[in-house]
Structure formats: C-alpha cells, structure tokens
C-alpha cells in the first residue's frame, strides 16, 4: 500500500475532533453541530454530532498518519491516490466530497 492519500469515511466520523487536535501541522479543519434524535423505545432523545465540513489542507499535510492512528472509529484511512497537483494552493484543501470520492475512483 502506497501511503499517498488520507481518505475520509464520513459515515464513521463522529466529529470527536481527535484528529484535528493531534495533527502536528494543524492542517485538518472540522465543523460540526449537535442534533437531538429520538430513537424508538428510548426514554430520552439522544444527542449526536453531525459532520458539517471536513477539510484537509494537503499543501500543509506531512502525511505522518497520526490522524489515521488516533481516529477511534477508523473514519480516516490510508489510500492509494493519483498525484495531487493544482495550479492554486487553495485547491489543495480538500473537503468531504473530494476526500471520499477520490477514494472511490481509485478503487
């Protein structure tokens, strides 16, 4: 496995912020909010975190994989990926769709 891309599995992400806080390059940005859901049979509504945005700034990322390691829910994983190049530095910041769809296209 070539460690050339860190992919996000958004369904597994609980917005716990561990990856964001452990990242030595401060290159992960995560935005989320809490919602209350009432499950059938439950006495009280449950609070869950809903992921709004997840960005990795690949112009800064050093591919250390600490985020992959610390994620308790395996929501981040190493992935094979084509070359990440761009004519604009801003475009190297990838959001949820790019972080996941790139993974699907590589498979």
């Amino acid at each position: 496995m070539i460690h050339s891309f860190i992919a996000l599995l958004p369904d597994k992400c609980t917005s716990c912020m561990l990856c964001v806080r452990e990242c030595p390059a401060w290159c992960i940005h995560l935005d989320s909010h809490t919602e209350e859901v009432t499950e059938p049979g439950a006495r009280r509504p449950k609070k869950i975190n809903v992921l709004d945005s997840f960005d990795i700034d690949y112009s800064l990322c050093m591919y250390c994989g600490i985020c992959v390691d610390v994620c308790p829910f395996d929501a981040l994983e190493w992935d094979q990926h084509r070359a990440l190049i761009s004519d604009s530095r801003v475009d190297l910041t990838l959001g949820i769709t790019q972080l996941t769809s790139e993974k699907d296209s590589a498979n």
Partner: protein, 163 residues
C-alpha cells in the same frame, strides 16, 4: 553490544573533574553531548563509553538559567568541541575554555531556539483548528456550545497565548 549503562548526576563544579575521571577509568569513547531545557535550568548530558562499547556512562548536570556557564571538556574529548558549540548556539550555554563562535544559526534570530521560552509566533498567530467544538444548532442557527472547557493546542505553553 552495550552491556552496562550507568547514569549519574554531577554538580556543575565537578563536571570537568568527573568527565576526566571517567576518561581515565576507560570511558575513552565520546558518543555525544547534548542538552535539555528544563524548568530548573539547562541540563547538559554527555555519554561516554569503553572503546569496545561494553560499558557506557551518561553524566548529566543542571545549570540554572541565570549562569549558563560550564567548563568545557573539549580538551579531554576534542570531538566534544563541536557538540558544545551546538549546545551553545541552541541553548545559549557558554562552555568556558571552548571557542564559542556561532556555527549555523542566523544572528538575527535572537534567542537560542531550543529554549522553552522562545515563542513560536506561527503557533500563536495561527488559529488552532482544534479549539472548535460541535455547536448546538436549531433550524441551522447556533444556539449554544456543549463544552465550556477551553482547549489548548499541544506544544503551546499557556504563557505564550497571553501576549
């Protein structure tokens, strides 16, 4: 293979004497000399070994931030001269008896960079993304924050953020 390894703390006054003693005892192989910045002062560490590496000794001494002077051991181990200059440059130590000319560091940088009181301004100026918390929203509007605990970025001491 390294078989026996001893660690010993000595006072700054006894530093040179103890290194010389160790040298005469047979610890003639100079491995390295380095330093660690601690609250109590700069701790200088030297590691010496027998020539066949069967035994080694680590000597350390703590010099308080007010003095930062220590006798050089470069005349006992010429190889230590370079290491002492590095420690001088990076920690602001002064090794008495050694030529303490700067090696690599740019003069304009100011304080010795390995000292803990040197503020990495990039970490103070940049907003830490980890400070964000999930927000409680109703109809798309923020109505509260679930945690009042203030998070601090790892590796950024509290007093850096006060300025």
């Amino acid at each position: 293979m390294m078989n026996v390894s001893v660690t010993e703390t000595v006072s700054p006054e006894k530093w040179r004497e103890r290194v010389l003693q160790a040298h005469d005892h047979g610890f003639v192989f100079f491995d390295f000399l380095t330093a660690i910045d601690r609250d109590s002062g700069v701790e200088v560490v030297v590691r010496l070994a027998f020539n066949d590496l069967s035994e080694s000794i680590s000597l350390s001494t703590s010099i308080n931030h007010a003095s930062l002077r220590l006798d050089s051991i470069a005349d006992i181990f010429p190889g230590a001269g370079w290491h002492e200059r590095e420690v001088g440059e990076m920690f602001g130590m002064n090794f008495v008896g050694n030529d303490m000319q700067q090696l690599l560091r740019h003069e304009a940088l100011g304080l010795p960079p390995m000292r803990k009181n040197v503020v990495l301004s990039a970490r103070v100026v940049a907003e830490w993304p980890g400070a964000a918390e999930p927000e409680i929203k109703q109809d798309g509007r923020k109505v509260g924050n679930p945690s009042r605990r203030r998070q601090r970025p790892p590796g950024v001491p509290e007093n850096w953020l006060q300025s």
